[in-house]
Symmetry: C2
C-alpha cells in the first residue's frame, strides 16, 4: 500500500489575496467544487480578514454557503484574530487556521501585534474553541516566517521551537510551519522539522512553502524525508507576499502533486483535471503571475493516467 | 570547513545548442571569462558536433583559442563521436565529454546509433585517449535518459547500471548521469545514485538534471543526500531538448548556487556576478526561454555577500 501525502489547496486564500481582480463568489465556489472533483481533500476556502484589509475576502460569509456541497472535503478558513474565528464559526466552518509570525518585525507589519500579543490572541481563540467542543472546532496554527524574514532577516530556530511548543501545549490541533517569504532551504528544513515534529507529538504538522527562490519542491522533498506528509500548495503557484517583491506564490499544486505521485505517494489528485481548472482560473483572474512546470511541459509519458481516487495506487517506477 | 560542491556550467553548450541566434565567438569567450571571474571552475565550453547538425558550434575550434585565458578552469568540450574527440584534442582540449543514451529510441533519434553502437564508439575514444597519455586526456561519459525518455518512456535502471559499469571499466574517468528530458524525481535519484556511485568507485559522478517538470533542484538535493557533489547547470536555465517540447533547460546555475550556498556547501560562486552576466547574455541571445527564481526575486537578506572566490574548489578527476 502506498503511503498517502496530502496537498491542502490554498489558492482560494493565499493564492488570490493579492489578486488585482475580485473573483465573484460563484467562481470561487466552482473553483472549490472542481478541486473536490479533482480529488483534493483539503481546501483553505477563504479568509475572515476584514474586507477593508483584503477586499478579495469580502464574500467569506457568502462562500461558506458552499460548505455543504464540499462534504468529504476538509474546508478551512484563515482567521487573523478572535473576531475572525467567531465569524468563521458563525458561517459554518469547523476548521480554522490562525497565523502568527515568529519574526517580530513581520508580526508588527502584518497584524500590528508583537508575536507575544499574537500568542495571547491565539489563547483567546482556544478559549472560544473550548466553548465549542460539541461542534468539534479544529484549530490549525501557522508559524509564519519560520525560515527567515524579509524584514528582520534571520529568524532564531529556538524561537520557532518555543512558539511551536507554546501553541501545541496551548490548544492547537495542527502546526503549519511556514516559509512565508521563500527563505528556506532543504538543509534548514531537515534541521527544523524533526524538532517541530517532536514538539507536535500527535498533532499533524503541515509545511507551507513559498517558491520565491525556486527551492519550494526541494524543501517539500526534504520535509518528506523528515516525515512530514501534508503540504499547503496553490493552483498555478498563485500567491505572493506584500513584503516579498517579485516573489512567486506558494508551491504549485500541479507540480507538487506530480512530484509526490512520481515518488510513490498516493495523493488522490487528478492532475489533468487540475490543469483544466487552472486554464479556467487564468481566464477568470486575468493578468497574474502563474507558475508551473507541468502546465508548460506536460506530464511525462511514464506517468500513469488511471483515475486517482483517494486510494490512488502508487506509480510503478 | 564547509564541504565543496561543484557546478559545471553548461550554458555555452547545452544552453545554447538550440538558441535561435548564433552567438559570435567573441561573446562566447566573454561569457566563459566572466564565468571564471564569477568563480566557476568547470565550464563545458563548446561541442564538436558537426556544424551542419548544430550551427551554433561552427566556431568550436576558434573558441578553443580562449583556453589559455581560462587557466585554472577545467574547460571541457562535448564530443558526439571519435571524430569530435579528435577535433577537440587537436583544438587543445584536455577534457572531453562523450554522451550516449541509455534509451535505444533516444540513441537512434539523437545520433542514429543503437546504445551498443554508441558504446563501441566510446571504446574507440578510449583507444584515442590511450594514445594521448602524456597529454592526460580526461574522458567524461554522459549517460543520457537515465531517468526516462520522452520517446521510449520507461528506462530500465538495470540497463543504466549495466552501461555505467561498461563505461567505468572501459576507461571513462567520470560518469555524468543525465535526466535529459526531466523525468526524474527525488525518490528515483535516491534509488539510482547509490548504485551508480558504487559502480563509479574512485571516478567522479556528476548529475545532469533538466528542470523540465520543476523537480531539478529537488533532484539536486536528493543527489546531495546520496553523496553526489558535482552538478551540471546552465546560466539562466538555458537549454532544451528537441524531443521535449515546452521543456525548460538545465537546472539554473544561479538558483543551484544559491541552494548549495544556503545549505552550507562552498561553491566559490559569486551569484551577483552571475546575475550581471545573465543580463548581458539575455541581450546577446534575445528571445529565448530564461528561467530563474533568484533573477526574479533576488537573494534573501540573510544571504552572506562576502567574496567567495577563496572557497573555489580544487579539481579532482
Amino acid at each position: 500500500m502506498p503511503e498517502h501525502a496530502i496537498l491542502r489547496e490554498v489558492g482560494l486564500r493565499d493564492g488570490i489575496q493579492m489578486a488585482a481582480r475580485f473573483l465573484p463568489t460563484e467562481r470561487k465556489r466552482e473553483w472549490a467544487l472542481r478541486l473536490k472533483e479533482a480529488g483534493l481533500r483539503e481546501i483553505e476556502l477563504t479568509s475572515f480578514v476584514p474586507a477593508k484589509v483584503v477586499p478579495q475576502f469580502a464574500d467569506a460569509d457568502a462562500l461558506a454557503a458552499a460548505l455543504p456541497e464540499l462534504s468529504g472535503v476538509t474546508a478551512s478558513a484563515l482567521v487573523p484574530n478572535l473576531k475572525g474565528a467567531e465569524r468563521a464559526l458563525a458561517a459554518g466552518f469547523t476548521h480554522v487556521n490562525y497565523v502568527l509570525s515568529i519574526s517580530e518585525a513581520h508580526s508588527r507589519s502584518n497584524v500590528r501585534r508583537s508575536t507575544d500579543e499574537a500568542i495571547a490572541e491565539f489563547e483567546r481563540i482556544v478559549a472560544l474553541k473550548r466553548t465549542q467542543d460539541g461542534r468539534g472546532l479544529v484549530l490549525g496554527v501557522g508559524l509564519a516566517t519560520s525560515f527567515g524574514c524579509t524584514l528582520q532577516g534571520h529568524v532564531d530556530p529556538d524561537r520557532v521551537f518555543e512558539v511551536a511548543a507554546k501553541v501545541a501545549e496551548g490548544g492547537a490541533d495542527e502546526l503549519i510551519v511556514a516559509d512565508t517569504v521563500g527563505y528556506g532551504n532543504p538543509a534548514q528544513v531537515k534541521t527544523l522539522l524533526p524538532t517541530i515534529l517532536a514538539i507536535a507529538g500527535e498533532r499533524r504538522v503541515v509545511c507551507h512553502f513559498h517558491d520565491t527562490r525556486g527551492l519550494g519542491l526541494a524543501n517539500v522533498a526534504a520535509a518528506l524525508d523528515a516525515g512530514v506528509r501534508a503540504f499547503d500548495s496553490s493552483l498555478a503557484g498563485l500567491g505572493g507576499c506584500p513584503f516579498a517583491p517579485g516573489a512567486t506564490g506558494n508551491i504549485n499544486t500541479e507540480d507538487a502533486a506530480f512530484m509526490l505521485d512520481s515518488m510513490g505517494f498516493a495523493t488522490g489528485i487528478d492532475i489533468p483535471a487540475l490543469l483544466a481548472l487552472r486554464r479556467d482560473v487564468e481566464g477568470w483572474l486575468g493578468d497574474e503571475r502563474y507558475s508551473g512546470a507541468i502546465a508548460r511541459a506536460g506530464l511525462p509519458k511514464t506517468y500513469a493516467t488511471a483515475p486517482r481516487t483517494a486510494a490512488a495506487p502508487a506509480l510503478a517506477s
